[in-house]
């Protein structure tokens, strides 16, 4: 009966760990190819010891100019940013860098699928939300509006993803919904 006690509770694991595990699963199952981009590093000094690997001795972290993850899923270019917040009531927009918003806008212009995965860590709830929706809040903030997106907005307007065993965080289900919605929008525009 020990099996019944297995819990998929996720306390302590970071959103990034969960997404990386999920992406490995997607890759192995041939469902999608999505990778975390390495953090860009400015390398200043490298030693080349005889008979062993080069050692970086001085380097600095650079600010990423794009998003955390990108790749391809069934012909679609996928590009997203993962964000965690401890807040129980809202997602603070200051977590998003202006250059990330710019990058995501360009992705949209190239007809990629651009979204955020937002984890409310304390509440253990995860949501997928389209870039376009976050952009509305972001522009509104720049015009003096509120500096965060209410949790209640996520509950009613975003797509919730539930934690599981394999994959840990099956966000492609949400991406399917985004793609289906987009197809509807595009055909309505005609």
């Amino acid at each position: 009966t020990k099996k019944k006690e297995v819990s998929y509770s996720n306390r302590g694991k970071s959103l990034e760990d969960d997404l990386n595990e999920t992406n490995v699963f997607y890759l192995q199952q041939k469902l999608a190819i999505i990778h975390k981009k390495p953090v860009p590093i400015q390398i200043v000094k490298v030693d080349y010891p005889a008979r062993s690997a080069a050692v970086i001795r001085e380097a600095y972290f650079r600010t990423p100019s794009t998003t955390d993850y990108n790749g391809v899923y069934n012909g679609y270019y996928i590009d997203f940013e993962a964000k965690e917040t401890d807040s129980k009531t809202s997602f603070p927009l200051k977590n998003i860098h202006p250059h990330q918003m710019e990058h995501m806008k360009s992705v949209l212009h190239q007809r990629g699928i651009s979204f955020f995965i937002v984890r409310f860590s304390t509440l253990q709830r995860n949501f997928v939300v389209l870039y376009e929706i976050v952009e509305r809040f972001y522009e509104n903030m720049k015009n003096g509006g509120r500096k965060s997106i209410p949790f209640t907005f996520f509950e009613t307007e975003a797509i919730e993803i539930h934690e599981g065993y394999l994959p840990r965080l099956d966000y492609l289900k949400a991406v399917d919904v985004l793609i289906a919605d987009k197809a509807v929008c595009e055909s309505e525009e005609k």
Copy 2:
């Protein structure tokens, strides 16, 4: 009359430099969003000096598990590997890592556009060649066949890209041809 002497000759510049410049141009002109992936680094030791930026004091280069470049172009997922050779007669397949081939095969399976940009440095000639074509040579090599792709094959079967001023290496023109060819193939398959 000095202007007439301006040459777009590319001696000395690396293929990577040319592609990075080209990608900046594409980004600024809103033609495509394609980035070089940072080389993955294994960080072992970081110092956090008071009042200044974190300094990486020990780190190692890791072997990239994918390709050099990826991004999105007009709804298409683009994924490619850039390779240079000094040879005047053929492109040696040992330049390609098995994990790169695996990655590109997966990209194809997800309906992305996967290709190589090959520069014959000594000849100052550049070619775009679909992953699928390289795969034929690669598989043939694994079965005991020749270990390189003849330059004459590139001349007749690949798409040549010529160096220019802005952009340096307009490979999207070649990608347009690849996409058009694929569309023809797919409709013939039906």
